[in-house]
């Protein structure tokens, strides 16, 4: 089981001080947060990708490459990489390069993006969102697995005799998660390829995600990648902690009330009731996170949103200390106990290489089946 954080990369005014960080400060803060994640023993840092203010992370592999150079264990990921509006050839190249630089500590989460104008800004049509996600990933999947690709599709210039360089590290592409909030088509896509499925459940009630994850698990088994409980599931979470619950609520409330996405809507109490958001003591965070397993089954990756809504860097770093010291060690122990042996760990490069080698030594895979 892997634990980490994911950042939207929003530049938001701190509602308690009225101060707005510069883009430069926010970018440096994201890096400091990533380094802190490694320091406190977390496994994953993931950044969003956005192409409009007030968000800074437009160039994830640049940022992750810099973080890779300054960390040793942290897995660097995205939440999400836009499979609809990025050229799949460039994704193949950028992430393979990052994978080499980071010695395999790289995976990525693909998503369609939810900002309408990004499609036309990048020459695409939002009404083609799902077909773009399907076709572009089909090409990306081949570019990482076939040395020479001839290809023709609906959305991009054809390729004749194209080799995406560098080739993936050790011949094993970065692990891919497919992120979705509402589309069964994406759960189906993840299941077809045997890739991971990340349900970004932080803003919505769990009933919806139970349906989506069950569908993914069932279809993962249907496509012959293993049993439903061997499907690779990731979940979001959002927490704010202080030793005393009341202190956490008092300190976080102005950030909640003014947050992008859900601010000026439901009360903190209502939102906590309906979504994974937990504002309280470390023990309350532990208790709430453990309920995820009851709802969704044993899973592989838990990412927390820790640094949005204008929280100052100092506060975020304190939160990461609490997360790393008091919460995650308990969660690791609790999630490990009673975890069936056939349930896989979170994906990591060395294990993926070992699995590939083990499969190659056993029997040749069936031609045409997705790997």
């Amino acid at each position: 089981m892997q634990f980490g954080i994911f950042s939207v990369g929003d530049v938001t005014t701190d509602p308690t001080t009225g101060r707005t960080p510069s883009e430069h400060e926010r970018i440096k803060a994201m890096v400091a947060i990533a380094l802190k994640a490694e320091e406190v023993g977390l496994d994953v840092f993931a950044t969003g990708e956005h192409h409009n203010p007030p968000f800074v992370p437009s160039s994830p592999t640049t940022m992750l490459g810099y973080i890779a150079a300054r960390t040793e264990r942290l897995i660097l990921s995205t939440a999400t990489t836009l499979i609809t509006t990025n050229d799949p050839v460039k994704i193949a190249e950028d992430f393979a390069m990052l994978q080499h630089l980071a010695d395999g500590r790289v995976d990525l989460m693909l998503g369609r993006g939810n900002t309408g104008p990004v499609y036309p800004w990048f020459g695409q049509d939002i009404r083609q969102g799902i077909p773009l996600a399907i076709e572009n990933y089909a090409l990306l999947h081949r570019l990482w697995r076939e040395d020479v690709v001839d290809w023709q599709g609906r959305f991009r210039t054809p390729l004749q005799g194209f080799t995406s360089t560098p080739r993936p590290l050790d011949g094993v592409p970065p692990f891919v998660w497919h992120g979705s909030i509402r589309s069964p088509e994406i759960a189906e896509q993840a299941a077809y390829y045997g890739d991971g499925f990340f349900a970004n459940n932080i803003f919505w009630p769990k009933e919806h995600f139970i349906r989506l994850i069950s569908l993914y698990r069932e279809r993962f088994a249907h496509y012959g990648h293993g049993t439903p409980d061997q499907a690779i599931v990731g979940l979001g979470g959002q927490v704010f902690m202080r030793k005393n619950s009341q202190d956490a609520v008092r300190e976080f409330r102005p950030y909640f009330d003014n947050a992008p996405v859900y601010g000026h809507g439901p009360s903190l109490e209502e939102f906590t009731e309906e979504t994974p958001l937990t504002v309280g003591s470390p023990q309350e965070v532990i208790d709430k996170t453990l309920t995820f397993r009851e709802s969704f089954g044993d899973y592989q990756r838990q990412l927390f949103l820790m640094d949005h809504a204008g929280l100052p860097l100092k506060t975020v770093l304190e939160q990461l200390d609490i997360l790393g010291e008091e919460v995650v060690p308990v969660l690791r122990k609790e999630f490990a106990s009673g975890r069936p042996s056939q349930v896989p760990d979170g994906p990591a490069h060395a294990a993926l290489v070992a699995r590939r080698d083990a499969e190659a030594s056993q029997e040749p895979s069936v031609a045409g089946s997705p790997s």
Partner: protein, 205 residues
């Protein structure tokens, strides 16, 4: 045979409200028309009680528990009676906001009776130029008679040229009652999966 589910959505704001009064009259008249042949389960969704939840849904993109239950009730109905006060030449903002958070396929094929209340009869055509196209867009089957109740209607029996409110209620509820048993029972929505090969194949140039 399973009982038919008859649901009224009332967007009245005052308590008591004439909008709710009209909803109740229409419900009762429809139920009575169906009663000899079919058992009818009657429910009223009061939008006033859900006003905060509806606003929160617009902001967050998901319904809270009480609103979720109301949306399920409306979606599962065999017949719907939609009653709104007329504000500023159209349905009320609260009514429209509720419609905006309903899944856009939830009312497809559903028999719907539209009705409205207002201070004077001069606003009655809002039913025809605002309510009816709204439900047409959602592919609901709207009965031909729409019922408008102005304040004066509650104390009048009509005249030589126009029937009174009671006549309109009887005619509209009869039309709704006729349609309801013929509608196939509302199915639970199923998550349909298009197999991935078919999604891929659809893209081959």
């Amino acid at each position: 045979m399973k009982p038919l589910k008859l649901v009224a959505v009332s967007a009245g704001l005052s308590q008591p409200s004439s909008t709710r009064l009209l909803a109740d009259r229409l419900l009762e008249a429809t139920r009575r028309r169906l009663a000899p042949e079919r058992e009818v389960e009657v429910r009223v969704v009061e939008l006033r009680d859900l006003a905060g939840d509806i606003a929160n849904n617009l902001v967050t993109g998901f319904p809270g528990a009480a609103l979720r239950e109301a949306l399920q009730t409306v979606t599962a109905a065999d017949g719907l009676i939609a009653v709104t006060p007329i504000f500023t030449a159209s349905y009320s903002g609260l009514f429209k906001s509720f419609i905006d958070v309903i899944d856009d396929s939830a009312l497809t094929g559903k028999p719907v009776l539209i009705a409205a209340t207002g201070g004077t009869a001069r606003h009655s055509l809002a039913l025809e130029h605002a309510m009816r196209p709204l439900f047409a867009y959602l592919r609901a089957v709207v009965v031909p008679t729409a019922v408008y109740a102005a304040s004066e209607d509650w104390g009048s029996g009509g005249d030589a040229n126009t029937g009174g409110l009671a006549d309109r209620i009887a005619r509209a509820s009869g039309e709704l009652a006729d349609l309801m048993p013929r509608r196939p029972p509302a199915a639970e929505p199923v998550e349909t999966v298009i197999p991935f090969e078919r999604q891929l194949a659809a893209l081959r140039p």
